[in-house]
Amino acid sequence: MCDTIEKVSIIISKGSLEGIYPGLIMANGARAEGIEANLFFTFFGLDAIHSKRLEHIKVAAVGNPGMHMASLVGVLPGMSAIATHMMEKKMAAFDIPDIPEFMELIGDTGCGMYACKASVDLFGFAEGDFIEQVQGIITVGEFYEIAAGGQIIFT
C-alpha cells in the first residue's frame, strides 16, 4: 500500500440529485489535489451527462429517509420539485455550482468522463445525446483498463 492516492475512478449509478453530487464533488476534489480522476456514468447516472436531462435532476422525495418526511407526503404531485428547489437554493447560498456548471468545471479540470455502453444501449441513447465533455461510450472492460492502477469508488 502506498500512502498517497494518485488516481481514482468514480462510478455514478444514480440519477437523483443526492446520487450525483457526491461523485462530482469527489472527482473535482481529486483533481484539485492533483489526483488523476475519471468519472464513469452508468444506469440512471447517465442523466447527469444527458444534455437534455442534466438541468432537470431532482431530489428523491419518496423512499428517502434523509428527507425526514413521510413517503406519503412525498408522493404528492410537485413534492420532488419543491424539495429540489429548496435544496438548490440552499446549495446556491453555499456557492455550490448547479450540475451543468459543475460538469463544465470538471471537464476543464481534465477529469475523464465516460458513459457505460450497456446502459446507453439499454436506454436507447446515442453519443449525440451527451454533453461535449463526455469522451466516449465504453464497455466495462474498457472502464477497467482506464481505471487500472487507481482506486475505484462506486456511488
Binding site: I25, R31, A32, E33, G34, T109, G110
Partner: protein, 105 residues
C-alpha cells in the same frame, strides 16, 4: 513545524511544506518552491495566479479554491491546470507562501 532554508531564507513550514508565516515569503522563495514542485521557470502567467492568491489571502484570510480562482483571477480553469498540473489552488498557495485553501468545491 520545522524551519526550512529556501533560497537562502529560513522559513517556518508545516508537514506539507506550506509556509506558516506568509510574511517570511519573498519572490526568490517562490521561485525555489515552484522548482521543488517541478514548475521551472515561473512564467508571467504563473506569477499572475501567485500574486492573486496572496492578494486574496491578505484580503480574506484564506486562499481561493480552483473554482473561485477560475472565476475571479482572470485565468480560466483549463489553463490553471496547465500551469499547475498537480492542483492549481494547492500549488499556487504553496508557491505564494500562504496556507492551503480548505474548500471542498
Amino acid at each position: 513545524m520545522t524551519v526550512d532554508t529556501i533560497a537562502g531564507t529560513p522559513v517556518d513550514v508545516n508537514e506539507e511544506g506550506f509556509l506558516t508565516d506568509p510574511s517570511q515569503w519573498n519572490e526568490e522563495v517562490a521561485v525555489e518552491l515552484a522548482r521543488r514542485e517541478g514548475i521551472d521557470p515561473l512564467t508571467d502567467r504563473h506569477w499572475e495566479v501567485v500574486r492573486f492568491m496572496r492578494a486574496e489571502y491578505e484580503a480574506k484570510g484564506t486562499g481561493p479554491t480552483v473554482r473561485v480562482l477560475g472565476k475571479t483571477s482572470g485565468v480560466p480553469v483549463k489553463e490553471l491546470y496547465q500551469l499547475f498540473p498537480k492542483g492549481p489552488a494547492k500549488l499556487a498557495a504553496k508557491i505564494a507562501g500562504i496556507p492551503k485553501p480548505r474548500g471542498c468545491i
